[in-house]
């Protein structure tokens, strides 16, 4: 892999990470205040649609961005109503918001533009263009010939849309708000012990609504970024599960802003790899090492524990071992004997590569990559009087 490829991979990782990052920080504000939000996906989607639609109609992407943020805040307030005011189930409210956005964006888009649930393509001022820093090269083909420093500057540093820089800046900003301001102290407190906040004379409801609204703003930017910066227009379901991955990143980041940046960049890298290296060829030997290694690790973990661990992990490792052996045997042919087959290469199914981010989310959630303790009052409505 040459240097430029690495720079590009980094560049693509950032691009893919930004919507995750914004959504992740959105979730951070909400969950730090004790409101779980699996409706990030829906809010992003609604914002993606409305910002594209309004950008198109008004000709100004900034107006579109505001509209996107507006609808996202509106959905946040619905979530707030359900989970703060009416003390409903936060998961169910989130699920409902996701469906609502998925359905309504298409219905409205069809009613508005009659283009099968998408908006027309955006161009010119109706879209966020990349900001080119002074002296930076703009085209991939020019950059390829430039010096490594120039490549780094032009590709990695320059050329992103303004929202990318906003997204990156929101990390230190979030950190600062959370740990250096009165609001941050109260926000963190209300997610841990709302009764302490309440008896200290601060409104729990007010704090939680502000958190939820900040969450809406960030989701709104994330959605607008997808439809007006990455893409030039809205297509149905264009958020493609980023909201859920952002939630996993949030857990991985242990609800901390800088960690969130790291987690989102990692997931961004997964996407970048998936996009770039679709035909991944692996030597059978490596497949065997990976699969049987994972099996062995699971078995080792399980045997010291309980029956259920042995059954589930044992079963899973058996499946992996069978796949490994089947791959091996399958690679033997007329020319290749059993030993030679180990050095044959086989293509990893693209479905598997595409499933990697999801698989990684599961591994993260399983806590094998560090145990995370969520805000103590998270997910629970604050009930003073029954």
């Amino acid at each position: 892999m040459d240097f430029f490829t690495i720079v590009q991979l980094g560049d693509a990782s950032i691009r893919m990470a930004i919507p995750l990052l914004l959504a992740c920080l959105a979730g951070l504000f909400s969950e730090r205040a004790g409101i779980f939000d699996i409706g990030l996906e829906g809010k992003m989607l609604a914002a993606a649609f409305l910002s594209a639609a309004v950008s198109f109609a008004s000709g100004s992407v900034w107006v579109g961005l505001l509209a996107g943020i507006g609808i996202s805040i509106a959905l946040s307030i619905v979530h707030g109503l359900a989970s703060i005011t009416f003390r409903g189930n936060q998961l169910i409210s989130g699920v409902a918001i996701n469906f609502f956005a998925a359905g309504l964006t298409v219905v409205i888009a069809q009613g508005w533009f009659a283009q099968g649930g998408r908006t027309p393509s955006l161009s010119g001022a109706a879209r966020f263009d990349g900001i080119d820093f002074p002296g930076a090269l703009t085209r991939v083909r020019e950059k390829m010939q430039a010096s490594p420093g120039m490549q780094f500057y032009s590709e990695f540093v320059s050329g992103h849309s303004i929202l990318v820089y906003i997204g990156l800046l929101s990390v230190p900003l979030t950190w600062w708000i959370l740990y250096r301001t009165r609001f941050g102290l109260r926000l963190r407190a209300v997610g841990e012990a709302p009764e302490a906040v309440d008896t200290a004379g601060i409104s729990v409801v007010g704090l939680r609504y502000s958190a939820v609204i900040i969450c809406g703003i960030l989701c709104g930017i994330a959605g607008a970024y997808l439809s007006t910066a990455v893409q030039a227009g809205f297509t149905k379901d264009m958020t493609a599960n980023r909201g859920f991955i952002a939630l996993a990143a949030l857990i991985f980041a242990k609800w901390r802003p800088w960690y969130a940046l790291g987690a989102c960049l990692l997931f961004g890298l997964f996407f970048a790899i998936d996009n770039r290296f679709q035909n991944i060829q692996l030597q059978v030997l490596w497949i065997m090492v990976i699969l049987i290694g994972a099996s062995a690790a699971m078995v080792l973990y399980a045997i010291k524990r309980e029956k259920i661990d042995v059954i589930v992990l044992g079963g899973l490792s058996a499946v992996l071992t069978v796949i490994a052996l089947a791959t091996w045997v399958g690679s033997t042919g007329e020319e290749a004997g059993l030993v030679a087959a180990l050095f044959e290469t086989v293509k990893v199914p693209s479905q598997l590569i595409q499933s990697l981010p999801y698989l990684f989310v599961v591994i993260v959630l399983a806590g094998f990559v560090g145990k995370a303790i969520p805000p103590r009052a998270g997910g629970q409505p604050y009930v003073k009087e029954r």
Partner: protein, 529 residues
């Protein structure tokens, strides 16, 4: 004569169908300590929470320093110079002491200046009132006594002139309570007004100037402390003459039923909860475990009840009990003849959403008599429930009602009926009368004694020293996961038990208050003393 510091007029408050406060009036003069007593559920906490703006009253007026004051929220109460230390502390567990003190009383949008100011202020308050705490300690790492100090500091930092303390001694040892009372007297000298909620008559007599009695949501009356005595207060509280002792004959212990040897428990956070606990109980005797809550009693019950893993050895009727393997669960324990009235009936003993009849089978749902082929015999359970409820005088005697719809005392009766009626070899009882009225307390105590007299072994855990002294045939005191010593009720007194509860064994004497404090500050958190 100057205006009362606090005057409440005609306060009423209902929680759904429960009328917690009915037309309550009360007046407290500045610079005095005013006590409020009443049974559990009498509405004391509710009344004070209204004064502190935590709940909104349905009707009534509040006067602070003679001026009519609206207190719609805690912010208004704080502004009116009222501070409150709740029964259950309102602290952010993973914040530092400093952050907890500053929360809600910041000076500006930025945190740094507020924290710096609070640090200075805290130091001077600590000196003034002997309220030493480490401002950078994290709440979850310090003991309850310390946490209580933080709560008091919070109120003082907000310049409260009127300080409400809701059952502050429930979690303290006698010695620790003395220390608290010294602080309160000090505050009184400084001209502060203090309202103290408690149901311990001794404390009222010790420290208060005036006292109000509440019963079933109503104010029975206020008197000067010097004009009353404990028996009089108890009668006002309950509404009839009460027997303050348990009637029982001396125990006739027989063979050893339970033998506990070198029990050790380390929890998920790696804290050593039980340290080499050993004791035994014989048939026909009640062993009482005294101790400030959080010193390992709960873990002991959980281990014996089968839902906490431990190392060591437990023998029931001479046979070992599985402590870690497949048979270390509540189900297996029940099969072995151990019944368990858990400490927390609402979170452990009952499923609040289940009806009373379903709760009758709870834990015993595998019993053969509740089965009909592959299915459960719901009719049999219902009949059984009805019969038990009648016998234990559960009110209302309707088995179809959900558990949540019974009052605390009746809920407890449902649990006790279920467990005692199994005729177990060993009965574990945790806080049997917490939140239960005196009538029901008598009944439950009688049932426990009756079971003992049938020749069963009973392990009683309670934070109420009176209950321990009254019921037990032998008393063991727990401190910091250890058994500090065993005493016979006839040969000990509350002072001695109190010292043991504070971790001071008799050989350590003479002891200093400081030593006790240090011990308690670390009690229950598993740190090395």
């Amino acid at each position: 004569m100057n205006a009362p510091a606090i005057e409440l007029k005609g306060i009423s408050k209902a929680f759904g169908p429960v009328q917690a406060n009915k037309d309550i009036s009360i007046s407290v003069m500045p610079g005095t300590i005013h006590g409020i007593i009443g049974e559990n559920g009498a509405g004391k906490s509710t009344l004070m929470s209204i004064l502190y703006g935590f709940y909104k009253a349905d009707a009534g007026e509040i006067y602070v320093g003679g001026n009519r004051t609206d207190i719609p929220d805690s912010q208004a109460a704080i502004a009116a110079g009222i501070g409150m230390v709740f029964q259950h502390f309102k602290l952010v567990q993973n914040f530092s002491v400093l952050e907890n003190v500053v929360l809600g009383a910041e000076d500006g949008a930025m945190l740094k200046p507020s924290l710096a100011k609070a640090r200075k202020q805290l130091k001077s308050l600590a000196e003034e009132y002997e309220l030493n705490v480490d401002p950078d300690a994290i709440i979850q790492d310090i003991g309850v006594g310390m946490q209580q100090r933080v709560e008091i500091l919070k109120a003082l930092y907000r310049e409260a002139d009127i300080l409400i303390l809701d059952e502050p001694t429930g979690v303290l040892t006698p010695a620790e309570a003395d220390q608290l009372f010294r602080i309160l007297r000090r505050l009184k000298q400084e001209g502060k007004t203090i309202i103290l909620i408690t149901h311990k008559l001794r404390e009222i007599m010790d420290i208060t100037d005036t006292v109000s009695v509440m019963r079933r949501g109503e104010m029975v009356g206020s008197v000067k402390t010097v004009d009353t005595n404990p028996a009089d207060l108890a009668e006002r509280m309950v509404g009839r003459k009460v027997l303050l002792r348990v009637d029982k004959t001396p125990a006739q212990p027989k063979d050893t039923v339970l033998e506990v040897r070198g029990l050790n428990v380390t929890d998920a956070q790696g804290v050593h909860r039980l340290k080499d606990v050993s004791f035994n109980i014989r048939a026909g005797e009640i062993l009482g475990i005294a101790g400030v809550s959080g010193n390992g009693q709960s873990e002991l019950l959980e281990v014996l009840g089968g839902y906490e893993k431990a190392t060591g050895e437990i023998l029931l009727n001479g046979e070992a009990i599985d402590l870690t393997g497949a048979h270390s669960d509540g189900q297996s324990r029940r099969n072995r003849g151990i019944a368990h009235v858990p400490e927390d009936r609402q979170h452990e003993g009952l499923i609040m959403e289940f009806s009373a009849w379903e709760n009758t089978a709870f834990g015993y749902h595998h019993d053969a008599r509740y089965q009909k082929g592959a299915l459960m015999d719901n009719k049999a359970i219902l009949a059984d429930a009805q019969e038990k409820m009648d016998r234990f005088d559960v009110r209302p005697p309707n088995p179809m009602l959900a558990a949540k719809n019974f009052s605390g005392g009746n809920q407890q009766k449902i649990v006790v009926a279920r467990e005692i009626e199994r005729d177990p070899d060993l009965l574990l009882v945790g806080q049997p009368t917490r939140g239960v009225d005196i009538g029901a307390i008598e009944f439950i105590h009688q049932q426990i004694v009756a079971l003992r007299d049938k020749g069963k072994a009973i392990l009683l855990v309670s934070v109420e020293l009176d209950e321990i002294m009254g019921l037990s045939d032998r008393i063991a005191v727990m401190f910091d996961g250890q058994i500090m010593g065993e005493r016979l009720p006839s040969e000990t007194d509350e002072t001695e038990l109190g010292l043991l509860m504070a971790g001071v064994t008799d050989t350590d004497a003479p002891h200093s208050v400081k030593e006790i404090e240090d011990n308690l500050a670390h009690a229950g958190t598993g740190e090395k003393v």
